[in-house]
Amino acid sequence: MLGRKNFDDWHEWVEARLSDYIDNMLPRADRAQLEAHLKGCDRCRASLASMRWTLSLLKRAPAPALPHSFAFAVPARRDPAYGFGFARLATVLATLLLFLVVGVDFVSRFGGGFSASAPAPAAQVAAPTSVALVPQTSPTLAKSAESATALPSPPAAPTAARLFAAPTSAPPGSAAFASPTLEAVGRGGAVETTPADNAAKNAQGTVVAPRSQVAPVRITVTETPMPPTHTPVPPTSTPVSSATLAAQARVQPTLAPVPPRVSTDTSQPIIEPLRVTEIALLFLAVFFGALTIMLRRR
């Protein structure tokens, strides 16, 4: 700043600008003024010298030693990833199984017992349903169901055998699904209930045994005489098939005595485990799903 200054003002003015002057940050005009003053002022020269000295000491000052490294600990990524993958897989499996079991349950309960083409497990599931439906349709069929399910002995087998009319029944699968006729489920499919009119048809040997057979038994309703209980049903069945039926009858203990209500009862032992399974799978799916989400957030 130019202008009138008394001597004291100059010292302050210079003092305030020494730092900038040392760093070569002063505007040219100010620098000229300052240097001109310094020439004639010991005090300001000493002040400049001491400031330069201070800066040199700062440069020579020792550096404090680093006490330790401040680097972060890198988290191990393997374990969380491992657990996360497992939890995710478990969730998917539990969910898929849950859907499968629920689907099977659904089909068996509302599908009315599809015949032949239904897979064996489904058929087995559907069997009780068909058993349940049987009594609704025909008392004679109920009886036949009764006798069919109560087939521990070969004599009863023919009954079942003749219920499985292989030749007359359409391809097990399609026919079964197509019409609610009691079709023999040679393949082990579930049996359909039959309306009363179908009973006559059954009489021709297309009676459907109210239960599925696991083995691909081809039961031809032919020769074997039927027990008297099967009034509408001509006694035809092959010994072979009857034997097989007997075996199969033994395979289906749950289909033993089947009064109209009993069929409902017999269906329960199968549905209950399903219910338990569904609930268990649901819990598993929810648990592993939550675990997956938790591990994912880490």
């Binding site: 003092e15 305030a16 600008r17 020494l18 730092s19 900038d20 940050m25 010298a49 001491s50 400031m51 330069r52 000295w53 201070t54 800066l55 040199s56 000491l57 700062l58 440069k59 020579r60 000052a61 020792p62 550096a63 404090p64 030693a65 680093l66 006490p67 490294s69 401040f70 680097a71 972060f72 890198v74 988290p75």
Partner: protein
């Protein structure tokens, strides 16, 4: 580090801790040194350094480029101010002797020979004297002085690191230098002779 620094920063911004650790190793000496000189004691300096790096990692996404050093030192100065507020005490209350890094001789040392024990002790005295002088300054002048005259940063970088403009940096620098100079002149007799002004270190 300067060659790979943008890559490390980019990886660290995505959460790569190992990449961030590379940045930590590159800057921790500067950060700790600065924190120590501003706070005057090692425990507080360690806390400030740790806090600064944690905060830097957390807010790394807000770094958009430019001087990473200045961005980091901004976090460091804030951490130091936090420490000063927490301590709530005058910095001159208790000072421990600064542990000098023996592997780093004084800049401008004339000899290539390793420092003798006496030289080491003299430098220790100098360091302690400077630290005492620094702690007499207000924190903003102290920080400015440390960054410009000890760490050698430019005005613009220091302005960014302290959140001020260049004019304010100049002003704080001028007053800080003058105050330290006055302190050291008064203490001159306590300094090792080779550091004294009257010996001719103009």
């Amino acid at each position: 580090m300067s060659m790979d620094e943008p890559a490390f920063i980019a990886a660290a911004q995505k959460g790569d801790v190992a990449a961030f650790n590379q940045l930590v190793r590159a800057y921790q000496t500067l950060v700790y040194r600065t924190a120590y000189r501003v706070l005057g004691e090692s425990a507080a300096a360690e806390d400030a350094t740790q806090d600064a790096f944690v905060s830097a990692f957390k807010h790394l996404r807000s770094f958009r480029g430019g001087s990473f050093k200045a961005w980091l030192l901004r976090i460091v100065t804030n951490a130091c101010y936090d420490q000063l507020r927490v301590k709530q005490r005058r910095p001159t209350a208790s000072l421990d002797a600064m542990l000098i890094d023996p592997d780093k001789p004084a800049p401008g040392a004339d000899r290539a020979a390793p420092e003798s024990p006496q030289e080491f002790a003299e430098r220790q005295e100098l360091g302690d004297a400077i630290q005492r002088g620094l702690t007499t300054l207000p924190p903003d002048q102290r920080v400015t002085l440390v960054l410009v005259d000890i760490e050698g940063m430019r005005y613009e970088e220091v302005a960014e690191a302290t959140g001020a403009n260049v004019g304010t940096v100049k002003s704080r620098l001028s007053r800080g230098r003058a105050a330290l100079r006055d302190f050291l002149v008064k203490q001159e007799e306590l300094l090792p002779s080779k550091y004294r002004l009257k010996v001719g270190q103009a």
